[in-house]
Symmetry: D2
Subunit: 349 residues, 4 copies
C-alpha cells in the first residue's frame, strides 16, 4: 500500500539488465558513448524530429532548470502555475540556473493554465521599458502536479498565446509518458505539433533509476545546452549508464507499457475510491496520481493499516475525526493491484 511517490519504487528489471549489460569493457565518456548515438536517434524517431537536439541528465530538476536557462535570459520572467514543480519543489534551481530569472505565476484550473489566464499573466508582466522583468518562456507541466492532463488542443491554445508575444514554451514532462498514454496521441502531437519548443522528457518517475532527456526541436541551442550542462556539473563521465537506461526504456515499448500500468493502477484506485462514501476526488485523475479528500478518521485507518501516502490540510494523527484532509496517491509501474484493493477496503472498512 505504498502510494507516496512514483520515484520510490524499483526500476524495471529490464533497465537493470541493460545496466549490467552495459558494464563491459571501455566506453567513451561524457556523452560520446556509442549507445547514446542510438538513443538520440530513437528519441528523434519517437518525436518525428530528425533534427532535434537530445541530451541526457540524471534528475528532473536538472532537466527543467537547464532547459529553461537555455530558453531564457536572466532578466526575464518565466510563466508557470503556482503548483509547478519548478516553482514549488526545486529550491530555486530555476532561478539559480537562469542567473536570476523570475517565475511569474499563472492562474490554474485543475492545475492547468488556460489561454485566458496565461494571457492575463503575460499582459500583467508589462515591462515598462527596462524597468520590469521582460517576458520570457512559458513552462507547462504535462501531466500536471495534480494528475490532470492538457489536451493537445489546450496545449496549442497556450503556445498560440505564447507565440503571439514571441515567447518560447517548455514542457516539463516528468510524467510525459503518463500523459501521452492518457491522451493516446503521439509525442509529436503532444509537443512540437502543438507548438512546444523544448521538452524535459522524464524517465525517472516511470521506471528508470534516474534519467531524463532534454529535447530541443530547434537544435541551434544544442551546444549552449551542453556547456550549461557541463558547467552545472550534470555531464556524466560514465555516461553509458544513462544511455543504457534510456535505451532499455525506449525498447519494445517499455516506456509506454510502464506508464500504462501506472495509469491503470491509478484508475483502479479511482474506481475504488468512488465507491467509498465520504471520499471526494479533487482533480480529474487523468494520469497516475490523484488527490482525494476524506475524514481524518478514514485516513487514520488507512495509515495505521500500513498505507503510505502524503496527507495535507492537517495532522492526520490528531484533530476532529470528521475534519476533511487531503490525501495524495501516486502509482508507479510496479504498483500492486492487490495493495490497491486492500487500501480501498481499509478506507471503507
Amino acid at each position: 500500500m505504498f502510494f507516496a511517490s512514483d520515484n520510490a519504487g524499483p526500476a524495471h528489471p529490464r533497465v537493470m539488465d541493460a545496466l549490467v549489460a552495459a558494464n563491459q569493457g571501455y566506453a567513451s565518456g561524457y556523452g560520446a558513448d556509442a549507445p547514446m548515438i542510438e538513443v538520440r536517434q530513437m528519441i528523434r524517431d519517437i518525436f518525428e524530429a530528425p533534427e532535434a537536439a537530445v541530451h541526457l541528465v540524471a534528475t528532473g530538476t536538472a532537466a527543467n532548470a537547464l532547459t529553461l536557462a537555455t530558453l531564457s535570459n536572466p532578466w526575464e520572467a518565466i510563466f508557470c502555475t503556482p503548483m509547478a514543480h519548478i516553482h514549488e519543489d526545486e529550491c530555486n534551481a530555476p532561478e539559480f540556473y537562469t542567473g536570476g530569472a523570475k517565475l511569474a505565476l499563472v492562474e490554474a484550473i485543475d492545475a492547468k493554465m488556460t489561454a485566458p489566464t496565461l494571457l492575463a499573466a503575460i499582459e500583467r508582466e508589462e515591462t515598462r521599458g527596462v524597468h520590469g522583468p521582460q517576458r520570457g518562456p512559458v513552462s507547462i507541466t504535462q501531466a500536471t502536479e495534480k494528475g490532470t492532463v492538457y489536451t493537445t488542443a489546450e496545449l496549442m491554445a497556450l503556445t498560440d498565446v505564447a507565440r503571439s508575444f514571441g515567447l518560447k514554451t517548455h514542457l516539463d514532462g516528468a510524467r510525459f509518458t503518463n500523459a501521452l498514454v492518457s491522451l493516446g496521441c503521439t509525442p509529436a502531437e503532444m509537443t512540437w505539433k502543438a507548438g512546444i519548443d523544448a521538452v524535459s522528457f522524464g524517465g525517472t518517475k516511470n521506471g528508470l533509476i534516474g534519467v531524463e532527456a532534454c529535447v530541443f526541436f530547434d537544435p541551434a541551442v544544442s551546444k549552449q545546452f551542453e556547456l550549461r550542462r557541463k558547467r552545472g556539473a550534470h555531464l556524466f563521465s560514465k555516461h553509458r549508464y544513462l544511455s543504457a537506461q534510456m535505451h532499455a526504456y525506449l525498447t519494445d515499448d517499455l516506456w509506454l507499457n510502464m506508464a500504462r500500468q501506472a495509469n491503470a493502477a491509478c484508475a483502479r484506485l479511482v474506481q475504488g475510491l468512488e465507491q467509498v462514501e465520504e471520499v471526494e476526488i479533487q482533480f480529474p485523475p487523468q494520469s497516475n496520481l490523484l488527490f482525494f479528500s476524506a475524514p481524518r478518521s478514514m485516513h487514520q485507518r488507512a495509515l495505521q493499516a500500513g498505507a503510505v501516502y502524503y496527507v495535507t490540510g492537517g495532522d492526520p494523527d490528531s484533530g476532529p475525526a470528521d475534519e476533511r484532509l487531503t490525501g495524495r496517491l501516486v502509482c508507479d509501474w510496479s504498483c500492486d493491484h492487490g495493495a490497491i484493493d486492500r487500501f480501498i477496503a481499509h478506507l471503507r472498512q
Copy 2:
C-alpha cells in the same frame, strides 16, 4: 590497451550486484533511504570522524563545486594549482556554484603546490580593503592531475599556511583512494589530521558508476550543503542507487583493492616504460596515472596498434618523426596486465 581515462572502464561487478539488490520494493527518496544511514556511518568510521557531515552526489564536478561553494563567499579567491581539475576541466562550474568566486593560481612543482608557493599566492592576493577579491579556501587535489601524491607532511604544511590566514582547505579526492594506498596512511591522516576541512571523496574514477561523497569535518555546514545540492539539482530522488554503490564500495575493502589494482597497473607501466629507450617519464608516478614523453614515431606505433590514450604537444599523426610528444596513461581497477605488456612491446618494437 586502453589508457585514456579511469572513468571509461566498467564498474566493479560487486557494484552492479549491489545495484540490482537495491532494486527491490519501495524506498524513501532524496537521501532518506535506509542504506544511506549505513553509508554515512561507514564513511564516518573510515575517517574516524563521528560527527562528519556526509552527502552523496553523482559527479566529481558537483562534489567539488558544491563543496567549494559551501566553504567560500562569492567575493573570494579560491587557491589552486594551474592544472587543477576545478580550474581546467569544469567549464567554470566552481565559478557558477560559488556565485562568481575567482580561482587564484598557485605555482606548482610536479603538479603540487608547496608551502612557499601557496604562501606567495595568498600574499599576492592582498585585498586592499574591499577592492581586491578576499582570500578564500585552498583546494588541493590528491592524487594530483599529474599522478603525483602529497605526503601527509606536505598536506600539513599547506594547511598550516592556510590556517595562518584563517582559510579553509578542501581536498579534491577524485583519486582519493589511489593516493591513500600509495601513501599507506589512514583517511584521517590524509585529511583532518593533516588539517583538511572538507573532502570530495571520489568513487567514480575508482570502479563506481558515478558516486562521490562530500565530507565536511565541521557538520555545521551540513544543512547549507543540502540546500545547495538541491538547488544545484544534484539531489537524487532515487537516492538508494547512489547509496548502494557507495555501500558496496566500502564493503570488504573493495575501494582499497580497486585502487591497489589501478596503482599496480600503473607501476607495471612505469617499469615497462623505464626500459624503453627514448622514453622519459615526466612526473613522479605515484598513483594510477603517468605522463611520458616519446618521439612521435613511437606514439604513432602504439596508437596504430590500437592503444588508446591522450597525446599532447602536437598532432601524433603528422610532423617530424623524432619530435617529442607527451602521452598520458591512466589505469583503472580493471586494467589488464597483458594489455600493458603489449603496449610496452609496441613502443619498443
Copy 3:
C-alpha cells in the same frame, strides 16, 4: 503641472551648494572621506542607533537589492507585495544580487500586507525539507507604491509575524521621509522599535541627486555589505559627492521639510480632486502620491492642457469618453501649488 514622478524634479539648491562646497582639494575615496564620518553619525543619531552600520549607494534599486542580498540566502523566498518596487520595477535586480532568491507575493490591501496575509504567505511557503525555497526576509515598502502608509502598530504586527518564523525584515524606504512626516513618529519608532532589521533610507525621491543610505541595526553584517557593494560596482571612488548630498539633506531638517512640502502638495491635490465630480480616489493618500479614477475625457482635458502623469487602464487618447482610467499623481518637494490648482481647474473645466 508635472506629476509623473518624484524623481524628475530638481535637487534642492542647498544640495547643489553642498556639492560645490565639497569640490575642493583632495579627499580620500571609497567611503573614507571625512564627511562620511559625520554622515554616519548623523544617521545613527536620527535613528537613535549608535551601533548601526550605515553605507551609501546612488540608486534605490541598489539599496534594496544589496540590502536584501545581505539579509538572505539564494535558496530563500523574500516576501513582498505584488506591487512592490523590488518585484515590479527592478528588472530582477533582487534575484541577481541575491544569487537567485525568489520573491514570494503577499496579498495586499491598499498596497499593504497585513499580519494575516503575511502569515498566510509564509505558511504557504512550506519548505518540505530542502525541496521548496526556504523562508527568507520580509520586505515592506514605506510609504507604499500606492501612497499609503503603514502605522507603526501595523509594522510591529508584521515584524512579529516575521520574527515568529525567525525571519528578518527590510524596509524599502524610497519614500521613508514622506511616511515619517505623515505618521509624525521618529525614525526609530518607524524602524527598529517596530522590529525592522534594515532600511533603505531614500534620498533620491526627496530632493537629492541620487543617494540612498543602507542602514543595518545589526552592524555584524557591515563588512559583508561593503563587499557586496564593491562587487556590485556601487562603491563610488569619489564618494565625497554622495556624502555631501546626504549631509546637506540631514542638516537643518531639510529632509523633513522637503517631505512635508511634497506631502502638502499631495494633500492639496486630494482636496482639489475631492471636489471634482466623477473623480474617485483609489487608495487612502497618505504621503506624496495618489491614484484617482476619472473618465477618459477628463484625463484628455488635463493632458492636453499640459499635465504630465501616468494613466493606466487604457489608452487616454482613444476609446469611449466615459470609460474610467486611472491616473497616478506624484509630488516632490518642488511641486508648485499654482500648478496643482490649474490642474484641478482643468479637470473640472
Copy 4:
C-alpha cells in the same frame, strides 16, 4: 603634494557649473533626458561611429563589468593581464556580472599584453570540447594600470590575434583620454579602427564626479546592455546629472585639456625624478601615473614632509634605510606644479 590617486581630486569647475545648470525644472529620467540625446551624439561624433550604442554609468567598475558581461557568456574565459583592474581591483565584479566567467591571465611586459603572450594565453585555454572554459573576450586597459600606453599598432596586433579566434575585444578606458593625448591619435584610431569592439570611456579619473560611457560599435547589443544595467541597479532615475557631466566634459575640449594637464604634471614629475640620484623609474611613464623605486629613507623624507602616495614592497616607516621600495605617483588635471617641485626637492633634500 597629493599623488595618491586621480580619483581624489576635485571635479573641474565647469562640470560643477553644468550640474547646477542642469538642476532646473523637471526632466525625464532613466536616460530619457534631453541632454543625453546630445551626449550620445557627441560621443558618436568623437568616435566617428554614427551607429554606436552609448550608455552612461557612474562607476568604472560598472562600466567594465557590464560591458564584459554583454560581450561574454558565463562559461567563458576573459583574457586580461595580471595587473588588470578587472582582475585586481573589482572584488570579483566581472565574475558577478558575467554570471561566473573566469579571468584568464595574459603575461604582460610593462603591464601590456603582446600579440605573442595573448596568443599563448588563448592557446593555453584549449577547451577540450565542453570541459574547459570556452575562450571569451579580451580586455585591454588603455592607459595601463602602470601608466604605459599601447600604440595603435600594438592594439591592432592584439585585436588581430583575438579576431583570429573569433573573440571580441574590450578597452578598459578608465584613463582613455590620458592615453589618447599621449598617442596624439583619434578616438576612432585608438578603438574601432584598431579592431576594438567596446570601450569603457572613462570620465571619473579625468575630472568628473562619476561618469563613464559604455560604447559598443555594434549597436545590436544595446538593448541587452540596457537590461543588464537596470538589473545591475546602475540605471539612474535622475540621469540628467550624469548627462550634464559628460556634456561639459566633451564641450570645448575640456576632456582633452584635463588629460593634457594630468599628463604634463606626470611628465614634470618624471623630469624631476630623473635628476634625483638613486631613484629609478620602473615602467615607461606614458600617461598620468608612474612607479619609481627609491631607498626607504627617501620615501620617509617625502612622506614626512606631507607627500601622499602609495608605497609597496615594505613598510615605509620601518626597515633598513637603504632598502628599495616602490612608490606610485598619480596626477590628475588639478595637480599643482609647485607641489611637484616641492616633492622632488624633498626627495633630493
